[in-house]
Each structure stands twice: as C-alpha cells, then as structure tokens.
C-alpha cells in the first residue's frame, strides 16, 4: 500500500493526460483559511477566552502541496479515490488546531497548492514560504519531496512528507528539513510480517508486479521475511497486459488465468502480492490454485489507518471526519491529519508561532502526539520518520495492530517496524 495504491488523484475512467494539462494552469487551489470557531453562537455558550486582550493572535501558515498524479485506474469501482483525498484530513486537523488555538491565541491557516507539474508545484510552494509559511505538508512523489526539500533548504521551513512511503527518503536520500508521517514501505511490510509470523504462516509465495514501486515493496517484504523468520519459498513476476480497464466480460478469463498462474508453487502458508498500482492484486483472493490467504498490497493489507477503526477513541475522530467530509477517512487523510496536528501540537507546547521554535520542538524528544493509535506517536531522531503502530486489515475491518506481542525492542517496540537506528543510512539527522 505505497504511494500509488491509495493515493490516486484521478476520479474516474475519463481521467487522463488531458486532465493533467488542464490542472497545470490551475495551479493554486482554494484558500482554505479557517477562522477560529466563533464563540457564543450556540445558545448559552460562554467559552470566554481568558488570555489578556493585549495578546495578538499568533498565526501559523500551513501549505498542503498536492502533486496531481496520473496513475492507471483501479480494478474496482470502489477504489477510485475521492477528489479531496488527503485535503479533508488537513481541514479536520486545522479545525482541531484552531479549537485548541483559541484558548492560546493561536490561529492556523491552510492553503492547498496543487499542480500536475512538479516544478510548478515547487515554485508555487516556495513563494508561500517566502510569504511566511513555515510548514509544507507534501502529498507528492518521492522525487518531488526531495525537490521541495532542496528548494527550501536554508529557510525556516519544514516539509512533512505524508504522501510517499519510499524508504530512500528516510535513508540515503534523507533531508534534515523533512519529517515523514506516511509509514515507510519497510514499516508496512514489517507490520504485516509480524502478524503472519505470529500466525505461524511463515512460508510465503511472493507475486510481484513489474513496476519499480512493486519491486520496492517486494524488497521490503524480503527484508521483513529475513528479520522475522519467514521464508519466501518462491517469487513470481506478474506482468500486467496493458489494456482497457474493463470489457463486457472479464471474470471468465481471470478465473482461468490466476489458478494457472499460481499452479505448482512450493508448499506455502500465504500468498503475498506486491502491486502498489492496484493492477492485478485484487484478482488473487479466492482464485489461487492452492486455497491460501492473500496478503500484501491487496487482501490482508498493512496500513496507517482504516475507516472502520474504533479503538482508542477513534470513533469520535471518525465521526468528526465524516461530518466534515461526508465520507470515511482514508489512510492519506490520516497521514496528513497527523502532519498538520503535529504542527498544532508543537505550537501549543512551544507556546510560539515562530516556525523556528516549532520545528525545534517537533524534532525534540519532548514532542509526542496522541493520534488514536493507543500510544504516543513520536518522530525518530535518526531519520524523521513518525513512529506509529501499523494496522493490518481487510477491506471491512482491522484484523490486528502491529507491533505484535513478543516482538521486543530495547527502547521502543514501535522501532521493530521499519528501519531502526543501527541500520539507518540517513546521515542528515546525525548530531
């Protein structure tokens, strides 16, 4: 479930190259500045703000940078992403920040800047930073995260990557001015692998797509197998024949194709798919030669969020989101909510609106965030990655939450997920 799986921008079969071109000119989107909640509107409401009247309201400007990407449409009609995927999460977080901020004379604004052209997106974002915005939440490709980081280098601004799970952004290509709320591929693969090992499903057949993102997720699974004592007994590459998304008919051929593709595999407990683009993985459950569960990018999936999570106070959070967006919350909404709430949390703790103070607080060991995962979330000091539990879920319900019982760690069990300090290739964060 990497950046391509859940993070599509196109909204229907009609979406195509023409859409990208038209969006390039419409670079700057609506200003979503949200005023603090007006007090005294409800009958009997008397939430007087006690701060001294001489205190001016301190403003923190947040930019959401959206790169409009153009992936192939998903197999299922249910999987077309909503137009405001991620944006709704940002809006909810700004609302939450402002509800808190009104008690502290702090105000948060959100501006969404979007483009299909990375260079234009970067230059538009840089203009906002020149105008005083200190925080850029990026829902972009890995390359564009780096372009943003490098364009903003030396300025008092922080990029929070909420859109790319690419491990190199946390490794050899890490940047000191980038934090990551999106879980890395390694974290997702580890979260899934811990559960499979807990189930004693240790023999895996891996079916991977042929794209670079598929290979990256497959590599994360290979690493997870090695770390947690599973074995990939065979790998097979699945080549997607490019064609139209649908024809009048389809199941007849799939029903023949998938069993024969999975025939003669060595003994295995589970079949894993690495298909970040969502081009074939959904075809595997219930069609494999051997009756085995399917997991990975489809089937049982690791994810940062699930629209049906109700533990740890998440019910209220989900309700709040649904009232705002008239839909359920998706992983990208959550990752962006965490990014924007992190900024708000830093502002209330540091009691400042100066980006410099907030960035220092976000990177300090004092920072923690309550984010409906049952434990505090913090940023890893060696690569800027958010430590967080990983949900392992089917389409309808979470099945479990990793780290699993028994996977121990010297400092934090959350560091059994993803790249730990001793193995990091990131040097930008070194003291």
């Amino acid at each position: 479930m990497g950046e391509n799986a859940n993070r599509r921008r196109c909204r229907g079969p009609a979406c195509g190259k023409a859409r990208r071109a038209s969006l390039v000119s419409a670079a700057v989107a609506a200003q979503l500045t949200l005023a603090p909640i007006a007090l005294g509107q409800q009958q009997g409401s008397t939430g007087r703000i006690p701060a001294a009247p001489s205190d001016p309201v301190k403003q923190t400007a947040i930019v959401l940078a959206r790169e409009l990407r153009d992936p192939s449409p998903p197999l299922s009609l249910l999987d077309f992403p909503p137009q405001d995927d991620g944006v709704a999460g940002a809006r909810l977080a700004v609302n939450d920040n402002n509800t808190t901020g009104r008690f502290l004379k702090q105000e948060f604004t959100l501006e969404v800047v979007q483009s299909g052209a990375a260079s234009e997106l970067v230059s538009e974002v840089a203009k906002r930073v020149d105008g005083g915005a200190g925080f850029v939440v990026a829902d972009t490709s890995a390359e564009t995260v780096l372009a943003l980081a490098d364009a903003l280098q030396g300025r008092e601004a922080l990029v929070i990557n909420a859109g790319s799970g690419d491990d190199r952004l946390r490794g050899r290509d890490c940047r000191a001015n980038v934090l990551h709320t999106a879980p890395s591929r390694a974290m997702l693969a580890d979260g899934l692998a811990q559960y499979l090992v807990w189930k004693q499903w240790r023999r895996w057949v891996l079916v991977r797509g042929t794209g670079p993102a598929d290979e990256a997720f497959a590599e994360a699974l290979r690493r997870a197998a090695k770390r947690f004592g599973a074995k990939i007994v065979e790998e097979r590459a699945f080549k997607v024949e490019a064609g139209s998304r649908r024809a009048d008919g389809g199941h007849e051929q799939i029903q023949q194709q998938i069993p024969s593709f999975t025939q003669n595999a060595p003994a295995h407990d589970v079949l894993l798919v690495a298909d970040e683009g969502g081009q074939f993985g959904e075809y595997f459950p219930y069609r494999t030669w051997d009756p085995r569960p399917v997991a990975g990018t489809q089937g049982l999936v690791p994810t940062s969020w699930h629209p049906a999570l109700e533990q740890w106070g998440a019910t209220q959070f989900q309700n709040r989101f649904r009232r705002l967006a008239s839909r359920t919350m998706r992983p990208l909404d959550y990752d962006i909510w965490v990014a924007v709430r992190s900024i708000g949390e830093a502002a209330s703790r540091a009691k400042s609106a100066a980006p410099k103070d907030l960035i220092a607080y976000l990177k300090s060991t004092d920072f923690d965030l309550a984010a409906f995962k049952g434990r505090k979330l913090t940023y890893r000091p060696w690569d800027g990655q958010l430590r967080q539990p990983i949900l392992v879920a089917t389409a309808k319900l979470p099945v479990t939450v990793s780290p699993q019982p028994g996977f121990l760690h010297q400092f934090s069990e959350l560091d059994t997920l993803g790249i730990d300090k001793p193995e990091t290739e990131c040097r930008a964060f070194s003291p």
Binding site: I37, L39, Q42, Q43, G44, S45, T46, G47, R48, I49, P50, D96, T99, T100, F103, L104, G313, Q316, N319, R320, R341, E345, S348, R349, D368, L369, A370, G374, R375, K376, S412, E413, L414
Partner: protein, 348 residues
C-alpha cells in the same frame, strides 16, 4: 429507550436474606447462596451496592460489596460508559453514549425512570454538589452540556476543546474542570457564569480530572502522556507531575486514566490502563508507593463510602478487581460483562 429488563428486584438493604432465593440473578454461582454464606463473606467494610457499566454488552452489572459477587445484570441503553448516583442516591445516571442521552434508573430497583437530554455522545459527567445540575462532556461535539435533572432541560452549552472527557467538580461546587483529549487541556469553568476561567495545558490525552476533598488541588491524568498533573485549584499553576515506572512494563503501556484520592488526602490511586496496574501515590511527595496488579486495561475506579475497598473496571479482561485499601492488596476479581467501563458505589 429499549430493552429495559423488567426484573422485580428486592430491596437488598431490607430483605437481604431473601433476595437470593428469588433466583433472579444472572450469575449461576450466586443462585442458592444462603444467608449463612453471605454472613461469612470476607470483604471488609459495610455492605454496599456497586454498579459497573459494561460498554460492549449494554448492561450494568450489580455487585454486592459484602459478598464480592455479581448479583444482577440489567440491560440499559447502548454503550453505557460514565455512571453516577444522584445526591440522594435514589437515581442511577448512565451515559448511554450511542443513544446520545443520559438514562436514569431507580438505583434500588433498577427500574427505568426517564431519559435526560445530553448532547451527542455523552461520556463522563458530574453533578453539582447541591444535587443539580448535571454537567456532561460531549466527546463528539467539543461541548459541555449543562442539564437540569429535575426539569430535564438543557440549561447551557459550554464550548471547550476537542473531545471533552474528564469532569471534576470542586467540593464547594464553584469550579468545574473539564479535560479535552485532543486539545490536551484542563478547562476551569465558573459554575455560576458557565464562563471559562482558565485553560491549563497538560500532557497528551487527558482523561480524568479529580479534586482533592479539600478542594485545593486538581489531579488530571494524561493517558498518552503517561503522567498525572497536579494543579493548584486556586492559582491554576502546575504543582507537579506524577510519573510512573514499572520494571518489565513497556513505558508506552503506562496510560493513566481513573484517579481517586482518599478523603484524608494522603493517598491517591491511579488506574494505568494496559499496564494492568493501579498505582498508589503518596500525595505529599507525588511518588508512587506501590503498583497493584489488577485485570487488563484498567480504566475507572470507585471507593466504597467507607473507603475500605476500591473497585476497578478492567476493560479487556471483562472483570472488576477489588482492592483492600488499608492493606493495599487486590483481594478479589469479579467477572462482569464485556468491556466494563464505569463504576460507582451506593451507600446501601
């Protein structure tokens, strides 16, 4: 309102010897207990009625504190959480979170009395010491709703932070403290004007606010922050923080929720959630004296009126632990319904 179980229930204070013979108890073990068995029960202290809300079962389990046994289970509204008694102990009030109301039962008979408006998703509430009104935290709506429990009218709505939860009332009734879980504040509210006096930033996800009996301090637990903040009620300055360290327990699992402070002000008890322990704290030093191992994911706590026993709700192990307050020992665990949440003890 739906599904109120219309069991006739003898008044246990007056006809205790007969009640078991009525045979209405859900627990098979309790059926057929004799008066003699009741007399030899080892629990210290008087005989009280303990009410436990079972969040998942939509029921209340009633425990006899002298027997330390569940004696009855009553169906209530959906997702019952916070539970308190009226000042005269006639009514049991339950936050039925998924029904978006507060349900009132006769505390002795458990007959349904009426439903109070509450605002959306009520979770915890507190009564004014005079017995009225009721202050309800609406977790879903960033509000505290003030309700007259006699006339069933909403008197006011007070805007607070995101996800209001904990509700503490000063003994003189002048100050209400509400905690907001996502804003991470304790909001001090003047009950005369319903205006916010002050907002004190505490650690992440504050769950419960509890005044000391003398009204001098407010203790606020922070579930994700893993601390309890002690605030001077007059100046709203932070006096100190209680921190917890349990050998062999991952620090992230230490998640303080329920707080109860003995009337003499010497000891505080804090439920530590998935650490499965209740911390006993010396209030003079704010140091933990002892950790008592209880059931799993312990959240809320309630003393008996004589403060000889403390009952804990253990959400994931579906039971209640009973702590002997003097000996600081867990003396019993009592099976209740699924996901026990709130607990209150009546003086009868």
């Amino acid at each position: 309102m739906q599904g109120i179980l219309a069991l006739s229930w003898c008044d246990r204070a007056e006809t205790r010897g007969q009640e078991v013979a009525v045979g209405k108890w859900k627990s098979g073990a309790a059926t057929g207990l004799t008066l003699a068995a009741w007399l030899v029960a080892a629990a210290p202290g008087g005989a009280y009625t303990v009410y436990v809300t079972n969040e998942k079962d939509n029921t209340v389990t009633i425990i006899d504190s002298s027997k330390l046994e569940a004696v009855r289970t009553v169906k209530v509204g959906q997702r019952p959480r916070g539970v308190i008694l009226s000042k005269d102990h006639k009514w049991l009030l339950i936050c039925a979170s998924d029904d978006n109301n507060v349900q009132v039962f006769d505390a002795r008979t458990m007959e349904y009395v009426k439903t109070l408006p509450s605002g959306p998703d009520p979770e915890l509430f507190v009564l004014h010491p005079s017995g009225n009104p009721l202050y309800i935290a609406n977790e879903d709506d960033n509000l505290v709703t003030v309700v007259d429990i006699e006339t069933d009218k909403v008197l006011a709505e007070i805007a607070v932070g995101v996800e209001p939860e904990g509700m503490g009332m000063s003994p003189d009734g002048k100050v209400l403290v509400n905690t907001s879980e996502t804003t991470n504040m304790a909001h001090f509210i003047d009950t005369a004007t319903n205006a916010t006096i002050d907002n004190v930033l505490v650690d992440s996800r504050p769950r419960v606010a509890e005044f000391t009996a003398d009204g001098a301090q407010v203790w606020v637990s922070a579930e994700i922050g893993g601390t309890v903040t002690v605030i001077d009620a007059k100046t709203r300055k932070i006096l100190g923080k209680v921190e917890f360290h349990i050998p062999g327990v991952n620090h992230d699992a230490i998640q303080p929720v329920g707080v109860r402070i003995a009337k003499d002000g010497k000891r505080a008890f804090v439920a530590l959630g998935p650490a499965n322990r209740v911390a006993v704290i010396d209030t003079a030093t704010l140091k933990v004296e002892k950790y008592l191992l209880v059931g799993q994911r312990v959240w809320q706590l309630a003393f008996t009126p004589d403060e000889r026993l403390l009952f804990t709700t253990n959400g994931t192990s579906n039971d209640v632990s009973v702590i002997d307050v003097e000996k600081l020992r867990v003396v019993r665990s009592i099976k209740v319904g699924r996901y026990p949440w709130g607990v209150v003890v009546a003086p009868f």
